[in-house]
Symmetry: C2
Subunit: 339 residues, 2 copies
């Protein structure tokens, strides 16, 4: 410990900078905030003083004066503690954090405990937050939708309800699912099943719809559908049900990579080969896609970009800059070894 007894070294204030530079606080404030009307000479000496004192503006004081928190909050519904196990979540957060790094906004995360939602609510509405980001896909999200009248809010993915007014960023799940299924069909598969996600969640709904369109178009049957909850075990269970039907089956489109990985277990557990006996395509292109053997062919979901775009949209909203209400990011099919 080389720390002296005087405690943490005092932090320089704007006033100290002003004194050192021989100008008024107002002038310092102006150069700090990059206002144009400042004599270049003075600006220089102020900058020198700032450097000399290692001055950093005090966020609290600034927020108080401007009546803006310079903070955006990421809400994580507690019910969805699963999200943390979901690679999707981490990547969205990465994208958000990365974008905000270059702005004056700070990211803060709250787990909205369902036991005391009031606490979260008053935190958000208490003027401590300039905007809100909601990441989970789950229906739980919508408990916050009503705040969007009072506070700028951006969602990851189309909200199940209220979509006409909400700001959100997503990929075209339906189109992407259609393309993925087409890949299966075009490579000659005749009996294409799907493991769909929850039908009360937009990605679950839309991806199923895309599959349906593709099989209809190809004149294939639409009966081979089982539903999971986006977890790996649910994928295994769904695949087993599919196989238990005894109907011919040579391909499956899973609603996400985790369920696809689960399907692998069921398929390989019965001694069937991927892709020889059954081809598999997933969705998301997350870590599961490359951790399984054979590597999974899947829809690439640009998740980091999605997070970044969410943050960008929110900041624009906060600052009154016109922004698209809906942003749809492009996807692509990543061909690996499972088809």
């Amino acid at each position: 410990m080389t720390q002296d007894a005087s405690g943490p070294r005092p932090v320089a204030t704007l006033e100290m900078v002003a004194a050192l530079a021989g100008v008024s606080r107002a002038t310092v404030s102006r150069v700090v905030n990059g206002l144009p009307s400042v004599d270049p000479k003075l600006a220089q000496s102020v900058k020198k003083a700032i450097l000399a004192l290692d001055y950093t503006p005090n966020r609290a004081a600034r927020s108080l004066a401007k009546r803006r928190a310079n903070t955006v909050t990421l809400i994580v519904p507690e019910s969805t503690s699963k999200v943390f196990a979901d690679p999707f979540f981490a990547s969205v957060v990465e994208g958000i954090a990365r974008y905000l790094t270059d702005t004056d906004y700070t990211l803060n995360m709250v787990i909205s405990s369902e036991s005391k939602p009031e606490k979260t609510r008053s935190f958000l509405l208490g003027g401590n937050v300039d905007g809100v980001l909601v990441v989970s896909h789950h229906s739980g999200d919508h408990s916050w939708t009503h705040l969007s009248g009072s506070l700028p809010m951006v969602f990851a993915g189309r909200p199940l309800v209220g979509g006409k007014e909400s700001y959100y960023v997503e990929v075209d799940n339906e189109q992407a699912a259609y393309n993925a299924t087409r890949q299966l069909i075009d490579s000659g598969r005749k009996h294409v099943a799907t493991i769909a996600g929850p039908q009360d969640m937009p990605p679950g709904i839309d991806r199923l719809a895309g599959w349906r369109t593709a099989v209809q178009e190809a004149g294939l049957g639409e009966a081979l559908v089982e539903t999971g909850d986006f977890t790996q075990v649910s994928g295994t269970r769904a695949m087993q049900s599919l196989l238990d039907r005894g109907d011919p089956l040579d391909a499956v489109f899973a609603g996400n990579d985790q369920m696809a990985a689960g399907a692998y277990t069921a398929i390989q557990g019965r001694g069937l080969r991927i892709p020889e006996d059954i081809a598999v395509v997933g969705f998301d292109d997350d870590s599961f896609a490359t951790s399984v053997t054979p590597a999974l062919t899947t829809v690439h979901h640009p998740i980091i970009e999605l997070g970044g775009k969410m943050a960008e949209t929110l900041v624009n909203l906060i600052e009154g800059i016109p922004t698209d209400r809906v942003t749809v990011l492009p996807t692509s099919l990543v061909i690996r070894d499972s088809v």
Copy 2:
């Protein structure tokens, strides 16, 4: 939109509460902060007013007055953008966020861009943060160690250097690795290899040491060592090297689950069976452990608890509450199907 043209509804201030309750601001402040010396009667009417006005204290004003930010920052080294792909990271964050939810501290994340470390530094030292949490295992962390004299700081895992003064939370990697290896030996394996993590990172070093102790004790060879970087592909590469040696080999202890998953690819790629031909044990018990087939036997790493304990330690440090400098969390071996 049911929002009227008056903009966001005005937020109640302490002063408004005081007016409504017919007391001074000082009294309201005392009630809000739970100070004892307040007439119960008055306290009641104040509480009623607070409820009526849906009052929430303004964080900025409070921070300014108390000269405390009530903010804890999680630093994510940019070099380590991998951390986001690492299930470990998400769980630590979950633990931290969960703990902080019940405190007055707010979590905020910064990606410390290496291009402009000064920005991060002055943000941290500018009085905008009460304490710092550092999550990555990587050596990059230590670029922040020097701040620990000026700002409370808690690490995830033993720092490579400066460990004598730092506060950190970890598991006993060496003991856990020893136990895992013993499991292999006790079940009759005679040629136990290891895929070690980077030898410039404490978990890499300590887990290798645990393996070494166990094989020495059992009189087995210590030559079967390859090193990876904790990624899946490095696990595959290391396992291939091991197999290429041509030496007898019937078990492998991997430094983490991702490398174990990578090893699976190499093993199964050569037509060898797990666990019949080669038994595999991993470390961390993350999502990779259950996504592979057969399910991986591994050391359970209590990551969420680790995050929680980090946050708890930091808050204690900030508030001057005596705390253990080092916390070691218990691990356990989770037996699945790979041994």
